[in-house]
Amino acid sequence: MIADNWTFVAAAYGLTAIVLLGYWRRLAKKERELEALSRRNAERRRAEPSSRPPLDESPLQQHPRP
């Protein structure tokens, strides 16, 4: 009967809990950030509806000349 090393069991379950919670919090945080961003965009868009975004063509992402 080998010794009951609960420490290993705790480590395994603890690590799993930490990582899963961490992922959950990251999701929640990103959702909040996005919420704030879209609210700000909505306000900005209401403030000056007629403005046209700048015309400088960003480098074509389709075929960047490496």
């Binding site: 046209r52 975004p53 700048p54 015309l55 400088d56 063509e57 960003s58 074509l60 992402q61 389709q62 075929h63």
Partner: protein
Amino acid sequence: MSLDPIVRVSDLRKVFGLVRVLDGLSLDVHGGEAVALLGANGAGKTTLLKILATLVRPTRGTATIAGHDVARAPESVRPLLGVVAHGAWVYDDLTARENLKFWSTLGGLHADGDDLAAALAGVGLDRVADARVRTFSAGMKRRLSLARVMLARPRVLLLDEPFAGLDQRAKKWLEERLEALKASGAALLMVTHSFGRELGVADRLAVLAGGRIALDTPRGSLGPDDIQRLYAVHAEETL
């Protein structure tokens, strides 16, 4: 000039990241007609060509060539296309004849030795047919890619600054080739920056600004300076 246009673009929009490069662009080109597309750097001229060439998907709006949608049915559009872009699509380590043979085979054409020789002679490369393309000048490479295009006898020709880097003799020669293609019923859409003799081929001028066609006028008797003025008015006003 045939009646209904071969190339129809309606309300085309293309967004790169946050930038609306094309925003509600509409343009038609008929068979046997050449349209010169002018516009400031970055106005979206090359993007329009790439969308028509089925290389880039539009964000919204439709573009059709001979009735086939370039985004949904690229396979039926591609055999109709002749594209002469910045890159001349040539392999430096192959000879002119080998390049031509490769592209014609890849295009599914059954061009035999004489067709290749005739095409090379047509673009004045017969003497250097078996020389490595590595030794060619930019103008010669452009003529080789034009020979490639003419072999396929395309119904629509998309040209991205075809005259750039050519000397006077080569420009005159290219002009004749494009007139011949127009006469054979092909539709030409040519992006260009200069207002000089290159526009001789064009039946219509279109100025692209603000993601849309700001001006679309038959060239008629307009001289280089009228075009310059018209361009200045339309191209700058919306920047």
